[in-house]
């Protein structure tokens, strides 16, 4: 443990100084030029960075660059990353994600990681597989998620039933862009849970627990184009009072109805909650064939390098919504990111299997 005592201490002080200097330089850059804009590493800049990383990893180990790949630097960089993430976790509005100090720390971490992996790859033995899967996998994932995301695009697109739309709202810039994909919405379909009947305080409108009243609902009405309604029988355990009548939560065209129990409380119906919603669409591309399918939450449709997600609908109309809102995501670095995730998965199996043995 202590065999490397003094020498180790000296190197880690040098390295700590370097990392702190870079972070301070980042802060200065931030003050002068404003936040880090990831657009500056858009293709081809990110490809150039990748090339530099790979060349650096392949350089002979005794060069100056290799000093950026030491374990003591790794420890300091992981700590810096931890501290910056901690600030983000405590103060999300801190803007750390888009700051120069964070971007430069990320850059140093990637450099260190690629050099570490490169060094081990040069003298590769089979028992290093777990190490390589974890470190190379993390490099690939962090590169794709950091440098690669500059090339990605995210858009919202609202499409009315029976119509075709090709304009989307760019989520990063807020501008309306014309996209190389167009969507025809054939049908929007939604199922709702039948809403619960609740007792509410008439003045505040809040639901309140009431143990004295027994509420029985029957004759549920639940058709398209009608607000859900139920015939309610309410009886009071203590006083024996009984009331009955229709209750409905109402919708965009029909008023709500409540059943009064006392001056203060009444039975009302909650708004229906969505069970599932889906859109039947046909996607047309500028080039290439069109593709039909159904999208719903957790089940996007993939068309080339685009993924189309069910995002929203006309909340006021619920299941009678005449349009559907999609989120379109374009990420050319998605495949590498998945490869990185897959490598890390297998890497974590090796962590499990090998445990802490050296």
């Amino acid at each position: 443990m202590d065999r490397e005592g003094k020498g180790r201490k000296k190197t880690y002080i040098t390295e700590l100084t370097i990392v702190l200097a870079v972070i301070v330089a980042g802060a200065a850059l931030q003050i002068v030029t404003g936040p880090f804009n990831s657009a500056i590493v858009r293709f081809p800049a990110n490809a150039v960075f990748l090339l530099i990383f790979l060349v650096a990893a392949a350089l002979p180990p005794n060069s100056v660059v290799a000093r950026l790949g030491t374990l003591s630097l790794s420890v300091i960089l992981i700590s810096s990353f931890l501290i910056l993430s901690l600030i983000m976790g405590l103060i999300p509005q801190s803007g750390i994600v888009n700051s120069w100090p964070f971007a430069l720390t990320y850059l140093m971490l990637l450099t260190n990681l690629v050099l570490v992996a490169g060094r081990r790859a040069r003298a590769f033995r089979l028992k290093d597989s777990g190490f390589m899967l974890n470190h190379a996998g993390l490099f690939i994932l962090l590169f794709s998620a950091g440098f690669g995301s500059a090339d990605s695009g995210k858009y919202f697109m609202t499409v009315y039933e029976g119509r075709v739309e090709w304009r989307g709202e760019n989520i990063k810039t807020g501008q309306i862009d014309e996209l190389p994909v167009a969507i025809l919405l054939k049908n929007f379909d939604m199922e709702e849970y039948f809403p619960k009947s609740i007792i509410i305080d008439k003045r505040s409108g809040d639901a309140i627990p009431s143990y004295d009243w027994v509420i029985v609902s029957d004759s549920l009405v639940d058709n398209d184009n009608h607000a859900p309604a139920a015939y309610i029988r309410a009886s009071n355990n203590k006083t024996g009072d009984k009331y009955e009548g229709w209750v409905s939560c109402g919708n965009y065209s029909q008023p709500f109805r409540v059943l009064d129990l006392t001056e203060r409380i009444c039975v009302a119906m909650a708004y229906p909650e969505p069970k599932s919603f889906s859109s039947e669409i046909e996607v047309k591309r500028e080039r290439g064939s069109s593709k039909s399918g159904v999208v719903q939450v957790n089940h996007p449709l993939t068309v080339g390098s685009w993924k189309i997600y069910q995002y929203s609908y006309d909340m006021q109309k619920g299941r009678d919504s005449g349009y559907s809102v999609f989120q379109l995501v374009h990420d050319p670095w998605l495949i590498p990111a998945y490869i990185g995730i897959f490598m890390l998965f297998i890497g974590s199996v090796t962590l499990f299997w090998k445990g802490g043995k050296r």
């Binding site: 443990m1 880690y12 983000m88 999300p92 957790n298 989120q327 995730i341 445990g355 802490g356």
Partner: protein, 257 residues
């Protein structure tokens, strides 16, 4: 077959599992515990299969149905980990947490009809939560061992250090699997595998803390300082798991329902 029969299957499985745990501690031969725990798993699996046939779809749509899978996987993965690493207490722990989920399902049966919101209806939900529960167990044990090593004699610390490393490596494997599954789920549900959501950020912070432990153990730093990373990591893990919803920063998080 329906939920009404659950109590019989659950009781049988629990009796088998708990006797398996007892056998684990009582007998030298693993034969008895293997038999009992496997029999419990078969009983529990039969219920899932029969329920599946009765429902005509995989039982994954309600909170109660998800708990059914936790109860099942916790025992399986806990037992597999035992087979690899011989940590008996982990089998006891998994069985206990599994029993808690079973008990909730028995005591609050109305949950079977309350449905999950669309974003939670994902095949990633169950494995994601299961590995986090197991990571929690490993890191909890590592924390206890680290505190004993920190406050005990140096001979004690020497004896414990290999086990501590082991627990952290295995725990980190579960944490990594959890965060990666979370990423794949997030991609399917809202288009981004990473969006710096508050819960994601805290999961990353936790992983970083344990990575720091692993790497500084190899870097020849003082053992005392290095060992302190483990309890600190555990506090961070607890914040990730339970505390995030209470942070003011959590307003608007996709993970707080």
């Amino acid at each position: 077959m329906s939920w009404n029969e659950f109590i019989y299957f659950a009781a049988a499985a629990l009796v088998l599992w708990f006797s398996g745990v007892v056998a684990l501690y009582l007998f030298k031969k693993r034969y008895f515990s293997d038999l009992l725990i496997s029999a419990g798993l078969i009983v529990f699996a039969s219920f899932i299969v029969l329920l599946w046939i009765w429902l005509k779809h995989p039982p994954l749509r309600t909170m109660g149905e998800t708990r059914l899978w936790y109860s099942f996987f916790l025992v399986i993965v806990g037992y597999l980990t035992y087979l690899r690493w011989r940590y008996k207490w982990l089998v006891a722990y998994s069985t206990l947490v599994s029993a808690v989920f079973i008990l909730i399902n028995l005591l609050k049966p109305e949950i079977h009809t309350a449905n999950l919101m669309p974003a939670l209806q994902s095949p990633w939900f169950v494995p994601h939560v299961t590995v986090y529960i197991l990571a929690y167990a490993m890191m909890g044990a590592a924390t206890i061992a680290a505190l004993i090593a920190l406050y005990g004699s140096s001979a004690e610390s020497e004896k414990l250090i290999n086990m501590i490393d082991n627990l952290v490596y295995i725990g980190l494997a579960f944490l990594m699997a959890g965060i990666l599954m979370g990423a794949l789920w997030a991609k399917a549900a809202w288009g981004d595998y990473w969006s710096w959501d508050i819960k994601e950020t805290w999961a990353l912070i936790t992983v970083c803390a344990y990575l720091l432990y692993i790497h500084s153990r190899r870097g020849g730093y003082s053992r005392k300082i290095t060992l302190w990373i483990i309890p600190i990591g555990f506090v961070l893990l607890m914040i990730t798991w339970l505390g995030v919803s209470y942070l003011p920063a959590a307003q608007g998080s996709i993970h707080v329902y």
